[in-house]
Amino acid sequence: MLILWICVAIGVVVFGAMAVAMWKFRKSRGAVPDVNFTHSTRLEALWTAIPILILVAMAAPATTTLVRMYDASDAELTVKITGYQWLWHYEYLGEGVSYPSLLDRDSNYARQLGSTLSPWEVPHYLLNVDRPLVLPVDTKIRFVLTADDVIHAWWVPAFGWKQDAIPGLINEAWTKIKTPGTYRGQCAELCGKDHGFMPIVVEAVSKEEFAAWLERQKSLPAAEQGLPIPRQALAAMARERAGRLVAAAE
């Protein structure tokens, strides 16, 4: 947001000059036009050079950030995201776990034209799904994105990026979540009539909980994978799995 403040500063200077001009050089205040003040090489050089310096100062950090955002190497986990009209499909590559994720039932009911259920009564209206994407914290996670029908875009604002999911092409992005919790987002590329109704929910859990969760999913039939597990049960599963690992080590 540094750039916003640079813009604000420039705005203050430019609009300030305009305000002064509008006040000081009013005809009604007896201002007489200085018709010879029509050209100044020095001024023009100045207001070309200064913006160049500001732009260079902006471009440098933007470049470093972009280089970092493009480096998806050394990821510890890869999730394949596929966009469909109108749902997301998640696949934990190499783990044999995959499931679709679509708008939750309450939102879907409330969003109908003439619905009797008010959006205000639905928690996380239009930002809730039946099966969230579960991810571990403190882990570099790589996403590969594609789509099956039209172009979609996967966007969780808290991650700070969106990436198009394009049929026939594979895109890449990555994230590393610090804080456990629920992160919500939406499809960000117009994809047809229900474009506004394919939200994204990411459930970020500790590494242990994630490992336990993933293990549990593998044992489930495909149709049941990804269904939400209450937090306490998840924690218990993590403890149990840790116990088994200790036992196995001994």
Partner: protein
């Protein structure tokens, strides 16, 4: 000007509706363009009000999502191709011959044709709304594969776009031919008013990019109806290729809509500052630089499609460069006002509103140019706010400013200054109520082109909708002011504005049917910028 009057009486044009259908007169055609654009502005505005009404509160109350998508798509197509572009062509038709001392446009019959294509193109485009399956609903950018999922509307839309393109290209050829061939003796290129300059450059942009759009939509057409796979990955094509081609047209198109606006503003600010334009030549070069840069920044509309790092960096740097010539323009306008003698009639108010609000749109544009930040802002309401600041408070405000500025010359009457000022203040207040909160919506995470949203976005959407309806209603006042001025009013002098300079102010008000049948004698000190030494 007795000769003019005598000539007018004897000119053998048909009267009534046939006069308008068969006219080859640049003033008549200019009027046709302007009236057409006003009608389209109201049609496109009505569509925007459908959008804002549906978004007034969360939940779907009025329209189905698919119809909502048709509205966003049509609103954009109608406003861009039906309202803004024809309005500037109308101003060009009226003013370029008057400003360079030409008797008419160079190719008057083609001029007639290029206008009369438009009503048919838009009838066809709008008729799709009433067809089975409805109108185009994939956004005005027509990205495949979504756009070719549509029904027959795809074919109608593409044919309509072809017609609009043909019309624009003919209009552009005419403008270039007029400016390069019909200038009065002594009207050197670097003595031309800036409005003429910006249009000359815009016309070249039009000729360069409209065929590109025609090619892109033709490939869509054959992909849908003739089994080709230009943009179909399963058949060896590439959906992203469409976006590259589209934006190679689309970005210069943005400047096609704003460069003539720069020209209008560069006429008005000196007039009401009673001082020549500051840095005339810098303004011309800045316009040319912007036009050049517009060809090498297209992919900044596509930062999230997965371009290689080098591509992202190139398009980011190139886009940031545009800030420099644009900044030069803003600084020159402000400095033109500096040490002037300012009055604030309606055209000047709109011009000042333009400079401030367009600059705000420029700031958000600069923020969007930063690729890593664009990964967050892209396709959100922040973008919607950005381009409406540059197109509504930019292009549309400049058109309004130009209409108020030249209306007395066209009609021979002064418009109602009090109502004009009301129109300005209502428009300016409501347009900010309408679009400023959309910045916040985008930053808070609301994607664009959605018919319904989470309750967290409710407040700003409601404010924005109120602004939308206020702005829309304020434009009815504009229609009334124009109507009233056409019907009558205080007689305008030839000079109209105390500080006005340039050839258009040497002919009577209203401008007679034929002007400059003998070339005028150019008096350098009376030219718009007055600065011929640099």
């Amino acid at each position: 000007m007795a000769t003019h009057a005598a000539h007018d009486v004897h000119h053998h044009a048909p009267s009534g509706i046939l006069r308008w259908i068969t006219t080859t007169n640049h003033k008549d055609i200019g009027t046709l363009y302007l009236v057409f654009s006003l009608v389209m502005f109201l049609v496109g505005g009505a569509m925007a009000l459908v959008i804002r009404a549906e978004l007034f509160q969360p939940g779907l109350q009025l329209v189905h999502p698919d119809f909502f998508n048709q509205m966003t798509t049509m609103h954009a197509l109608v406003m861009i191709f039906g309202a803004v572009m024809p309005a500037f062509v109308g101003l060009a038709n009226w003013m370029i011959p008057l400003q360079i001392g030409a008797p008419d446009m160079a190719l008057p019959r083609m001029n007639n044709w290029s206008f009369w294509i438009l009503p048919f193109a838009f009838l066809m485009l709008l008729s799709t709304l009433f067809m089975e399956g409805g109108g185009p609903a994939a956004g005005w950018t027509l990205y495949p594969p979504l756009s070719i999922q549509g029904g027959n509307s795809v074919a109608f839309t593409i044919f309509a776009i072809h017609l609009m393109g043909i019309s624009s290209i003919m209009g552009a050829i005419n403008i270039i031919a007029t400016i390069l061939n019909l200038r009065a003796p002594g009207m050197d290129l670097l003595k031309m008013p800036l409005f003429v300059w910006t249009w000359l450059i815009t016309a070249f942009l039009l000729i360069a990019v409209m065929p590109v759009l025609a090619g892109a939509v033709t490939m869509l057409l054959t992909d849908k109806f003739f089994g080709t796979s230009f943009f179909n990955a399963a058949g060896g094509g590439d959906p992203v290729m469409f976006q590259h081609i589209f934006w190679f047209f689309g970005h210069p198109e943005v400047y096609i809509m704003i460069l003539p606006a720069f020209g209008v503003i560069s006429e008005i600010i000196p007039t009401f500052s009673r001082k020549p334009l500051f840095g005339y030549q810098a303004m011309v070069y800045a316009t040319a630089s912007i036009a050049f840069l517009s060809f090498i920044v297209w992919a900044h509309h596509m930062f999230t499609v997965g371009m290689p790092l080098g591509g992202e960096l190139f398009f980011m740097y190139a886009t940031m460069l545009i800030a420099i010539p644009t900044g030069v323009k803003v600084f020159n306008w402000v400095t033109t006002m500096w040490r002037g003698s300012l009055t604030f009639e309606t055209p000047m108010l709109f011009a000042i509103g333009f400079v401030i609000l367009f600059t705000i749109g420029g700031f958000s544009g600069l923020m969007l140019a930063i690729a890593p930040a664009d990964f967050q802002y892209h396709d959100t309401y922040f973008v919607v706010a950005h381009f409406h600041y540059v197109l509504v408070t930019g292009a549309v405000f400049a058109i309004m400013a130009g209409v108020y500025y030249w209306l007395p010359k066209w009609t021979g009457h002064m418009y109602d200054e009090r109502l004009g000022k009301w129109h300005f203040w209502l428009s300016t207040i409501f347009v900010n109520v309408l679009f400023f909160p959309q910045h916040f919506l985008g930053l808070a995470g609301m994607p664009r082109r959605i018919p319904d949203y989470n309750t967290a976005f409710a407040d700003f959407n409601m404010i924005s909708s109120i602004g939308g309806f206020g702005f829309g209603l304020a434009q009815l006042l504009f229609v009334y002011v124009v109507w009233k001025c056409v019907r009558g009013g205080v007689r305008a002098t030839d000079q109209v504005w105390e500080g006005a300079r340039g050839l258009e102010w040497t002919v009577p008000s209203p401008a007679p049917h034929h002007t400059f049948e003998t070339p005028p004698v150019i008096d350098d000190s009376k030219l718009a910028h007055g600065d011929v030494t640099h």
